[in-house]
Structures are given as C-alpha cells and as structure tokens.
Symmetry: D2
Subunit: 343 residues, 4 copies
C-alpha cells in the first residue's frame, strides 16, 4: 500500500500515520516528494482493509493499493494456462475452441432433444439449457426445475453432449450435481457469495458469468471464492456489461478476454447471445471472440425462436447456428485454433 | 405492446405478424403511418415475452412495451403510501424520517453496545449491524454469524432499538428471523431470486437495496417478487449506482427517490454511506436525501472508524453522527417532516 | 509518480527503469516490498506524460500518479472560496444562492420578455435563454442567433436581470460578449479545447457545464484551461451525467457538489432541469442541491412548456417555478444560506 | 409517435391530447387497450419535438418515437454501402480493409518520416498524425500546428500515403484542408455542432470518431449534420466508450460495427489503440474488428513509444505493428476481405 499524505501535513499527523502503520505490523518507508510526502507500507501485516481505512486519518489524502487482491486465480501463482476436462473427449482451455449451445430454457422433451441433436450436428460439443431460470419478473416462466434436469439428462444420453445448466440457490446444489456436467453461475449471482462458497466444495466445473457491472478485478475475486473453497475448475464467461448504450441489450466487452489472459490461468469463454441480445449480432461477435483469443463460446440456439418462452430474440435457429459454425471455422483457423470435430 | 413493422414490409410478412398476434390471444389494431405501419396488440393474451419475441419475424422492426411490468408494487394498484410498522413506536413511511444507524459489521460485544448507545443518544431509532457480510474478497472478514446476531439482540435489549441485519443465504432465513426485526437484502443480491422468493414467505419487513446496476424498473420487479410471494412489508433503499466516476465509491442517485414516489406506494430510504464511500460526504447527502423526500436514512456509524474491520472510510464517528442529526433536523423541518424523538 | 515493477523483474529491467527516471530529471526512490518493488519518481522533471509512458517498459507493471493535475483551480493554490461578481448586485459564490432561470431557447420577443418578468417576480436574479442551440439533430431548431441576443438584451433592459447565454463556436465570441453577462459552455463542449482557450482571453464570467461522461478531475482540467488562459471567473455547473438508468434523462450527481468544494475554490451550481429531464423532478432536486451546498441553481422556465420548441418536458411553468422558490427558501434557510431578494 | 395515456385519463384530458395532435398537423389514431389508451400520431406535421413535449400534458404518461431521426445517413435512403475514394488507389468501404497508422502527435520531421516509412513498409495505406492535439490538460503538449501539417505533407511526398489529421477549431478548416487528405473529428468534438456544420461545406472526407458517451443514434445524427450540410464523405470510427471498467482506458464496443452496418451505408472503421489504451491489446482487438466486419483500422504506431509525448502506452512499435499486419492478413482472409497491397 502507498499512503499519500496531504499537502502541509503536520508533524503530529505524520507521526500518527507512521505509528499506525507500525501498529498494523508493516514497515513505514517514507518518500519526501517535492510537493507531497508518500509512505510505502512494506511487509505482510494485519490486512489491507485496515491500511485502506487510514484514509480516515486527518493527515492522509488517499491510499493506493499496489498488489492484486486475488492470488489463486492469478498467473503469478500458476503461470501455465489451465485446461479443464469436462468429459473424456471434451475440455475447455486448450487449442480447441469449446462450443456450448442450446436453448435458454428447457421447455419440453421434444424441444430439448431437437435442440441437442441440431447443435451436435452443427458441431457444438456441449449442450446448455436452463431448468432454474432467473427472471426479472416473478410472473415470467421460472423453469421446469427437476423435470427439466431429467430432460437434459435424456438429451445427453441421446447425443453424448455434456450438460451445462444454471444454479440459483445453494440449496439446489446436490440436486443439480446429480444431473449436470457443468454448473453455471449467472450474471446476477456473480457476487452471491453464499452460492460461490458452496460451489467451492463441489467436484464439478463451474462457468462463472461476469455480472453486468462487475469489474475484471471483482470478477477474478469471485473466481477466487470458488478456488479458495477447494474447486479450481472455474471457467470465466464474458457476457456483456451494462453501459449507457441501448442499441444492444448489453455491451460485449471483448477486450476483457486478452486482459484476463494476462492476469489469470483460467479459461475464458464468451456468450455473444446475452452479450448483444439480437440474433443477427451473434455470428459476427462469435467470430470476433475467437479472433481475440476466447477459449470457447456459449450460444443460444432454439428450434423455434419466435415461440421460445424466453430469450427468443437473441436465439439462433439451427440453420443459422450451422452457418455460424462455418464462419467460425475460418476464424478459428486464422487464430491457430480448432473447432470440435463433428461426429 | 406496439409492434413497429419494417419499411417496405411485404403483404405476406404483414399477415405473419397479425396472425401470430391473434394466435397469442391478442387483437391486432393496425395504424398505417406515413412511413411505417404500427400494430397495437390489444387484450390480455399469452404473455409479453412471446409478443417481444416477435422481433424475430422478418417484417418486424421492433416491439415497444406500453405497460409497466410490476403490479403489486405500483401506485396504480395501491394509490396510498404504505407505512410499515417495525415495532410499537417505530415505523417507516410516515411523516417521521426513520434513522437507521450503526456499524457495517458486528465486531465485538463492546463495539456493538457502544455503537447502539451512541446512535440512540444522537437520535437514531433503529440499529444496523452485519453478522453475515458479503465481501468482495474471500480473505476478508466474513462476519461473526450467529454470535453476531446474539450480540445484536443484546444491543436491542439494552437500548430498545429494533435491529436491521443482512441476509445472504436463503438457508439462514429462520436463524436470522429469530433475532432481527428487519431483514436487509444487499445490493449484490438484488436479483438473487431464490432469496427474494424465500423472503416473500416470512412475516418480517425487508429492506431491499438497489443494486449497482439495477434500473428503477428492475428494482421494482425485485420488490414485486417479495410482495407477490406474500410479504408486502418491503422498504426500498437507494445506495448508489455504479458509473464511470471514481471520485466517489458509487453515484448516489437521489432523483430515484421522487421517481419511485411517483410509481410505487413503498417507502424509500437512502444510504449515503455506501452511496458515497466517504464519511465527509455523508452529512450533505443525508440532508439532500431528506430534501428530496426520502422516508428514512441508513447511516454507518462506528466508535473507532480507523480500526473498523470493514467500511471504516465511510463510517461516521458518534460525534459526527450527532452533528449530522442536528443538521438533519433543520432540513426535516424544511421538508415538513420530523425526526425520531430522542429518548 | 509511483512506478510499480513487475514481480520477478530482472536486474537489467530494474536498471532501465531507474535510468529513465533519472534521464527525465527525477530522483528514483526505491521501496523493496515483500512481493513487489515500487519506485517513487521524486522532483519536478520533464513531465508526467513521459513518466506515465514508462508503463511500456518490460519491467513495469503500472504507474500511479500522486498529484492532482490541476493547479489554479485547486484549493491548495487558493484556499478561500471564490465569489464571482456578475453585476452591481449579483454575485455567485457567497451566502446567497444564485438563481438563474428562463427558457431553453429564445423563441420570440413576447416569450422571452414574459419569461424574464415571470422569473424575476418569482425571485430569480439572472435570466437564461439560448440564442445558439446545440441540437442533436440538424433538422431541429438551431436558435435565433443574433436576433435572439438582441431580444435577451431587451429583456435585461426591462427587468435588470443579467443574461446567461450559450456559446458554441469560438468565432462567435465577440458577438456574444457584446450582449451577454455570462457565457455558458454546454455539456457537449466541455472538452472543446479550442473554445475553452478563447474563453480564457475574455473578461466575462463563464458557466462551465459538466459533460455527460466527464469525471470530476477532467471537469476541473477544463476549468484550468480557462483560468490558465487568464480568465479566473469560472462557475462550475453539475447538470447530470449519463448512466445506464433511463427513467431520468441524466443522473444528477449531487455528491459532486461537496466533492468539488473539497478540491476547488470555484463556485458550483446545479441544473436540475437537464439533470433530470422531467419538470416534476426539478423542485425536489433543486431543494436537494441547496441542501448539499450548491452555490446556485439554473432552472428552465417557460410560459407555455407544451408549446416550447425545445426542452418543454423539463421546463417549469412560471407558477410552478414560483412554488419551487417558496420551497427553496425553507431549504436555503436550513442550509444557512439566503435566496436573492425579490424586487 | 405513439402517445401513451395515463390510466384513468379523463374525457377532458383525452380531448386535450387529441386536439393538440390535430393542431400540430397530425391525425390521431386511437387504440383502446385493456388497461391503457394509446394514440398514434400519423402524418408529417410540425415536428417530433412538439409531439414529444406533449409528455407535459396531465393525461399523458409517455411519448414513444417510432421513426429514426436520421435520414441521409440511413440505409433506408441509400441501401447500397458507400465507398469513399481517398486518392487514386486508396478508398474506404470496399472489400479492402483500410489501414491508417502513425503516431498520436507529429513531434519532429525525423519522427514522422520514420513513422511513415515504417507503417508503409508494414502495409498501412494511410498515415495518421496530430498537429492540433486535444489534451485534457492545458499544460500538456498541444501540437506543432501548421509546422506539423507541413511535416505531414513531406511525409506524404516521400511515401505517397494520404494524410489523416485532426481538426479542433472551425477557424482552422482552410488551413488544414490545404494539407490533409482526410479530416478527423475527435471523440470530444462529436457533438461540436459548430465544427460539424463547417465540415458539411468542405470537399474532403471526414473521419468522425464516436464520443465516449455517444449512443449509436447520436453518432448517426452527428454524421447527419455533415451530410445534410453537403458533404457525404463521412467515415464512422468506433474508438471505445466510457464505462465503469478501469482495466482498459475505454471499452471498445465492437458490436457497434454490425449494428451500424444494419442502419447506415457509411463505412465503419475501428481504433483499437484509443479503444483499449494498452499496446498489448491492440493486435487482438484489431483482428476482432476485422472479424466483426470493420471497413478499416486506425492504429497508433510510434518508433519510440517510451519517449512519445502523448499516448505512448497505447502505441505499437513498428515491429509489433508489422506482426499485427501479419495476423490481420489471416483474419481478413477469413472475413473474405483483403488488406492493402504492400508496395
């Protein structure tokens, strides 16, 4: 921590600052500048929270943190990129760009099986589908719950695709782990710390979606909750942040992909469906995500988007998804990556 | 819903749109404009989600909702302001401006009793204190949990002040209800729908804090979750939104107070401590909150802010809080409101 | 400047950094931390831009500025608050809260004279009115230009109220100075440096409106342009920033008033009309602005808002403005301030 | 325009609304909904500003615009993409991805000539360099002005590269037109309408950079100012918007490229240097821009970034730029586009 003193600080105020730094177990290293005095708090004392609170002292102008607050998620602690194995032949984080596709919600057996077959045929290697849905309105469809999970399991049986589904309530963790291959934490739960702590205890990969107003540092701190709890299989997902712009549902922050790759070993995937909110923008942004280094994509595909119970506007029809995969294959090649092999 | 068609829409595309409107159980009312054709979907058919998804149709430019999505929270349904009774002599929503004060976290018996006595002496009529803490870092102090709740109960015994404390996990609801008079939902859980649903089932008032990225409409929809679940004792709390400005921790959106008063019967309180992040800004913003019509304030007060385990920078010392109450009394009078009577 | 080195920096990289610091004319003060090495660049060398560019060096993690970049606008340079004299009996920055009111645009002689009389009768002490209008659309009314300035001069003759009007083009400066008592720089021109430089050369007060995405630091830097050019009569005006919230036209950032008062000696006024975009919100936010310490208000008033050529939605009718002034007088008193005396 | 009436509107209020619609020259088309009454104002009456101001009427809840406010910039008016010819062999908007590169500021003859040769060798087909610089601080380097323009002309003589340079002041327009091939309007001047109007009168292409707070609709309205003034040679440039995220200087909104391509015929280029603020992020975001359909790139390249007087942190060294062009060629091919031929 760097403590910047006020201009014209008194000798007494100066002493109060250095005394408190020492009381907290740090060494106070003083730099006398031309206009300001600056103090480095060196060592590993009793916490950055308490140093930060020194901004309260009358002689202190502000306190500047130097170190990143995340450890286990950082490249400094683990310099090689993590590859997360999902099933025998599916992983996220290697040269192959993972492709997770499927409808927003599981709506019926027919719908989810048709979706699973279609996305598999087009080259996806994982199936998404929500059984517990976080909806802005209490009057909107809230998901098929366990019945939806059973249908997802059936879809996996038929297609072999691993299943990604969302968890909303820590109480549902055992239930969902029975069916899902990957648990997804939605944007609205990015700082639901009760949920993150529970996910630290399970032995399943977790896709952690960035919140609409989550900084990259906070995003990594939420990952740190899961890893420090004991589960290092965390996949980060950029899905758009909230800005003033209303032409798109969110603003997909693709620059966060290379920024994250400089800071963390965790794989980073991109969701261009929520990121834009319009199906026409999904393919160009998916291609851009691969160009920028994303380790995977998560795309909403629905056999009949204009009858979908949720997110129909941003869902691709199967034939559009198939065209997307064709475009994507050219960009993956340009990026020196591969797409999952169709089977 | 208003469906705006594209310029040059074909007769076939037009028919597809009107057919689907009818299929969904609405009447299609067509307006031929000079440049565009616009269709009103009139009636109460099978849901706005499905009308909204018509943006997918080739002839449709966009779909504009007309009605507010919240009902029970709206002034249209209940035109008189709600007054929420907390205890025999404490309520929120009437002429008296409620004042909730206390430390961010319960840290020790001495700290919480000292805080409770001090805020009571200065004129607060409720005590706040966190026993379960939502912290950005897993390595920060996470709260004293049940031990903290017991200390809060002791503080109530001594001072008579009702207790406000935060709930993070639906699983803790019975535990916290045993001790607290008001349950608080933090900004990070504003769209934790699993938690909101549980709070709809309890018979305790809930303070719902606006999230950093929550629109006023979404804020009311989250209240609607609790009310539609059966608990109408919801108090809304503005606590700052996230913007590009970094001089303050958040940007306190005071205009949301009169906007909410035009839309909802629920009481609206303001938290200038989180809203600004700096103790020096708390008093001016508290006075402004009362000027703008807030029904209450929630203020962080700590006997020794520079030793607080959390939020020390934004906490008032008891003597500063007392000065704040003096200023506030003048502004409350100017607003035709009263402050709680000191006892 | 504080230069934070990367973890595991090599001896060679370290030398490159310290050599460059010395080359730029600074002294390199090294702090060896437990995890990182940090270097303070002390002295007054060849510029912060060049120190900042050291982030390019392979051994450098990031560079943290310590000093504020504004000088003449800062309280450190001039610790007493500035009071800016507008005319014999009108000033901004003292105990009296200045009240500038009038229509968005000058539309006709009748409209501006009627407006001027009405705002004066209600207690305003300055008249606003735009003759050159910055409109989002080239097809919207662009202002009456010099004809409008002449009408403003007539309104001053009749009422005695000093005139505030906007300048868009550096080329218009002499023309506008002939008529106006205060020149206004609109939010869209806050970083129109060509215009700011010209305003540094004139002997007229300038109201500088914060841009929709202007940080407080940038706001003060724009004031610094005018002051460093030779004109210290700058009045800062908060008028709402752009956020994700769409319920209001902008989000009025009232906390910027006390933040600015801690940093600058310049007077700070508030425009609740643009700040909210709805006339119903103007009075509560005006009262809040006074509660928070604003030195003045700028309010749109129009005799017939539903026929106004611009900004009708946010304009008060004269009778509503008069009611606002009544409310305001109570809040001004609570704040220990006065309102202009009606004459 | 759609006018939504309040619930429970009186017969009198209803009449007031329909009368005013007719007075303004529109036909009032009424839709009686289940809960609300909605009126379409049909025809081409006296302006959307005046319809919008009807929100002031007591019976009106809100007013919803249906038509886009831009005309000449829209695809509806000109459905084929515009290709803008810059010189005999350089154009923007066709299959070839234009590459504009060079330093932020012209600093010296040696620097600009070295830069021009380097960017040409690597495959750029236009040279950028600022002679008039918009700097946040009045104490920062403000540009070499005409001397810089002369150096740019020399660089063109030597390399044949057309010159792009920024204009800040309408008064400089003749001077800059003497030297430049393309005039650039910076982000801070996107709503400097005095400048935009002047640019409507010149016969030179204009690169219009999106402001930090500019919506896509406002962006097109600023282009409309130039086109409606008589100059249709407008190139739009996305360069990052301001959000809450501080890990990057701005948030590059790549989704705006396909959104713009759906709405306008104007070419769209991307500036990944300002868009990210860090040279390491320039190459990935440049590749992503091409993947998403950008018609060109604008990249800062400096022979010695750590000695640059401005923007050194985000400037590529010539060898890094050359590597970028190599990567870019693969993505351009994947996108079915070409890069300029090296000469």
């Amino acid at each position: 921590m760097i403590i910047v003193l006020k201009k014209g600080v008194s000798q007494e105020q100066f002493k109060e600052v250095t005394d408190m730094i020492k009381d907290l177990g740090y060494h106070a290293h003083v730099i006398q500048g031309t206009e300001r005095t600056v103090i480095g708090a060196v060592g590993s004392g009793r916490g950055t929270d308490k140093l930060q609170a020194m901004e309260n002292l009358p002689g202190v102008d502000n306190v500047v943190p130097i170190l990143q607050p995340y450890k286990l998620a950082s490249l400094e602690v683990k310099p090689e990129k993590s590859i997360i194995q999902i099933s025998d032949n599916v992983k996220i984080g290697g040269d192959e760009v993972a492709v997770i596709a499927g409808p927003c919600s599981v709506e019926s057996e027919e719908q989810i099986i048709e979706s699973a077959r279609a996305v598999k045929a087009a080259g996806a290697n994982m199936l998404r589908g929500g059984a517990f849905k976080p909806r802005t309105s209490p009057y909107s469809f809230q998901g098929m719950e366990e019945e939806g999970l059973i249908l997802l399991r059936n879809a996996r049986k038929i297609t072999g695709l691993p299943i990604v589904t969302e968890i909303l309530n820590p109480a549902d963790i055992n239930l969902i782990c029975k069916y899902a291959d990957i648990l997804q934490v939605g944007a609205r739960n990015i700082q639901n710390f009760a949920l993150l702590k529970e996910l630290g205890k399970v032995d399943k990969p977790v896709i952690l979606k960035r919140g609409m107003m989550t900084t990259i540092e906070e995003f990594l701190m939420s990952a740190e909750y899961i890893i420090s709890g004991g589960n290092s299989k965390v996949i980060l997902c950029e899905r758009g942040i909230r800005t003033f712009e209303t032409a798109t549902r969110n603003t997909l922050d693709l620059s966060c992909v290379p920024v994250l790759h400089e800071r963390t070993h965790l794989p980073v995937i991109v969701d261009p469906s929520h990121g834009t909110g319009h199906w026409k923008l999904v393919t160009p942004m998916a291609c851009a995500a691969v160009a920028v280094g994303a380790d995977g994509l998560m795309v909403e595909v629905h056999p009949h988007p204009d009858h979908a119970v949720s997110d129909g506007i941003q869902s691709l029809k199967p034939e559009k998804f198939s065209e997307m995969m064709d475009s994507l294959s050219r960009f993956a090649e340009a990026a020196g990556r591969t797409l999952p092999e169709s089977s």
